[in-house]
Amino acid sequence: MATNVASTENGGRKALDSVVIRFAGDSGDGMQLTGTQFTQSTALMGNDLATFPDFPAEIRAPAGTTFGVSAFQINFASFDIQTPGDDPDVLVAMNPAALKVHLKDVPKGGTVILNTDAFSERNIARAGYTENPLEDGSLDNHIVIAIEINKLTNAAVADCDVTSKEATRCKNFWALGLMCWMYNRDRQPTIDWVNQRFGKLPNIAAANIAALNAGHAYAETVELPSGVEAYIVPRAKVVPGTYRAVTGTEAAAWGLVAGAKKAGLELFLGSYPITPASALLHTLTNLKPYGVTTFQAEDEIAAVCSAIGASYAGKLGLTSSSGPGIALKTEAIGLALVTELPLVIVNVQRGGPSTGLPTKTEQSDLFQAVWGRNADTPLPVVASATPGDCFETAIEAVRLAVKYMTPVIFLSDGYLANAAEPWEIPDADDVEPFPVEFRTDPEGFHPYLRDEKTLARNWAIPGTPGLMHRLGGIEKDYDSGHISYDSDNHHRMTKVRAAKIDGIANDIPAQAVATGEESGKLAVVGWGSTFGAINQAVGRCVKDGLSVSHIHIRHVWPFPANLEELLSKFDRIIVPEMNNGQMVNVLRAKFLVDAESITQITGQPFKVSTLEREIRSRVEG
């Protein structure tokens, strides 16, 4: 917790540069909601922020168990931040299980706010404690604020017409009120949200607001333990503009809609529910008026097939899933590839293999994206770096799909999809349109006529007079588009399909260095959601004069044309990844470089400190 001296300028509040708060409780305690509301208020206060929702796969695991603990971490600051923070300064633990799971991450001297009403003998035992952690000295190194939150919440909502069960459910809002006072957050956005959410249940709305206000009033009145006071985190100095809080899911959805508009096409999403990709289906189905059709198919295969069918008929086909679902779609992706139809495949990666860790983040589907199909089936792969970056990456995926008549895989992950950050809303008019021109001229037409430059085939859609043709999975003749079993033709078609994708390397921005010099001792190469942690770690090292650079790859396949040369300018290359070493092997295979792997497969994002240690150990001394 970086602190400034308390001053009267801040209304007696102590100014902090940055704070990391983690809310933790039972799955049913509403921790994600509490975190989201705190995030909204914080965004509106003008702080930079990053969040990390971390929840179990079970919807409501048995109450009080450690495996049912759901957490939401927010890092907010008066300066530019890129990660949800390594360790929490403040832990709000709504029950013993939450304390048990998360206390180990709170550094010495950190603050722990506890709901003592949840610390019954039964709950303490359920969490796996043999002794009451409030009494056994295990919290001696922390500042503890122990509050009877249930009791105080019940008292606060006594006048609202709610059952005792409903009353107790408001305890997350009580805790939120407390935190709003401590960090000087405006309660109004939350009050507005409650009124909108519970418009039809005014008693529930009133109870939640009463709890929120009561928590706030309690903090204002009560004497807090020494070391804890009221804080203020000044606004971050950010580029002027209009901002909003955005998750990767929202940014991806808007980017896909924007991409389709720029292509002059309507968007068709065929999808099947799967964690953590379902939110994209939910978001897009609410954008119907923007030319979006969503179709919840009977399975993953039907989802991708319906999208291919829609592309065939002249829309932009889109399918979304996570690793296991993408595996099921594989054969159909091959069909889209060989029939050279545009298709965007969004993979919101999660921990694997198989069912793995559905709600945890990982970036272990890189091999699957780049190489995971039968036969020679190259296709472009793009990956986004931050929640907001999902917007641009989605547009790029659409651009490549329609320009090159190819399926494109867009890699996101569970962290990006759920995490929120303030986002400077771009001007959509700044995005260059890339309108699709359907073939209408029957003169000399056959379906595999190619553009000389891009090698993309021409796109004629059903309904066009005079251009009737047959597509299919059987190899087609290069010159006529008819079925062909000719061996030389297959060789030629395989080569042209590869050349088309390889050519994309010259149609994407040259690989830039995100932080540091264009050459030096060490290049830290990353891709996907590790961007923030790597960038911050490298930034700290660069500040200390170390010869380190951060190279972040958005175009994962094909690589930008200059990447090989850029990598050759560094003595050493490390590749931190949330997998067991995939990009490192793609780079080694492609460029014969001696890249070194740093892996973390815990289902959690990298900590900046972990990466900083890894970097320093290689360039210091």
Binding site: A43, S306, G309, L335, D429, M468, G473
Partner: protein, 344 residues
């Protein structure tokens, strides 16, 4: 004086592509494609509006032999692709050609859901009770005890009845005919086409190489009248070379039985009248098997409901009218935003 040139009417042959047909000589598919060409010519469907989707198998080569748009997809998935295409462009006239392994085994899920959703597709199921293209393995419609390369001692799993499955899944239109029954086929196909929603037509097809004669017991000219019944809406369920057989209520009143008029006191008045909107009757007809019953042919069930694609587009229109879209910038700025001023 300007003389308007009449648009040349499309002839059956105009629906055939220039590609050489590669089915085995004598294959039932030849007869089926002929029936389809004739039907399309009778309907005068413009070639550019017509799309044939198929999966994998002998039947799935069908689109290559059509002069319309066509998409030879992957095994079992044709209904899923067709659903996407129909949602994308409801003006297209979409036909899906499937085999029994294609539609009922690997693609069973998609067949079931296309039917359940009632997507406006004409689903043609070529049922030859065998896997042809992979060289003769038994299929989910093969009769119990079918000897095949994968079941040398005979298959031990019970076959399914396509139309019963379809009705169970909520089909609004099911019909059956067979490859050489060219008198009946165009009428059945036209009824399927007229039905807005998923129309399943099972076309019994003889595989001359791997399952030759499988249906001779009721499709052969000598026995077809006695061993099959062609149903027509509003007409009595009568069959037989002498038109003296029929379907009547079973003695317990819960089912149907095949009877002979003039025997055991049965009169013409006992014969049931076909009602294509009666689902229970359709289910009984669909399930009729030799030798106890004649095999039911014609339109067994035709009871339209709103088509899925129509419902989807209706909802799209409604929600768009209620929430007119703005520009992309409006979309991005909807909800809570804040502005950071210069020098802030």
């Amino acid at each position: 004086m300007n003389i308007e040139t009449p648009v040349e009417a499309l002839k059956p042959n105009d629906y055939a592509s220039d590609q050489e047909v590669r089915w085995c000589p004598g294959c039932g598919d030849y007869a089926i494609i002929k029936g389809v060409h004739r039907t399309l010519a009778e309907l005068q469907i413009p070639l550019e509006k017509l799309v044939f989707f198929s999966g994998i198998g002998c039947a799935a080569r069908f689109p290559y032999y059509m002069a319309s748009y066509g998409f030879h997809t992957i095994h079992g998935r044709a209904p899923a692709l067709a659903t996407g295409a129909k949602l994308a462009n409801p003006d297209l006239d979409i036909w899906v050609v499937m085999g029994d392994g294609d539609a009922l085994s690997i693609g069973g899920n998609h067949t079931m859901h296309a039917i359940r959703r009632n997507v406006d597709l004409n689903l043609l199921l070529f049922n030859n009770e065998i896997y042809g293209l992979t060289k003769g393995q038994y299929s989910p419609t093969s009769q119990l005890g079918t000897r095949s390369p994968s079941t040398p001692q005979g298959s031990v799993d019970a076959p399914l009845t396509a139309l019963s499955l379809a009705l169970g899944a909520g089909a609004r239109f099911v019909a059956r005919t067979f490859d050489t029954n060219q008198k009946q086929m165009p009428g059945v196909l036209k009824a399927a086409h007229a039905h807005k929603g998923a129309s399943l037509v099972e076309i019994i097809q003889n595989c001359i190489v791997y399952n030759d004669g499988a249906f001779d017991g009721w499709t052969n000219k000598k026995v077809v009248s006695d061993n099959s019944i062609s149903v027509e809406h509003g007409k009595p369920l009568i069959f037989g070379a002498d038109s003296n057989k029929g379907l009547a209520k079973s003695d317990d009143g819960f089912g149907i039985q095949a009877v002979t008029i003039g025997e055991n006191g049965v009169t013409e008045a006992d014969i049931l009248i076909h009602d294509e909107t009666n689902k229970i009757l359709a289910m009984m007809l669909a399930d009729m098997k030799q030798p106890e019953f004649p095999v039911a042919l014609g339109v067994l069930y035709n009871n339209p409901a709103k088509a899925f694609d129509e419902a989807v587009h209706e909802q799209l229109r409604e929600v768009t009218e209620a929430n007119p879209p703005g520009s992309l910038n409006d979309m991005l700025r909807k909800g809570r935003t804040w502005t950071v001023e210069e020098g802030a």
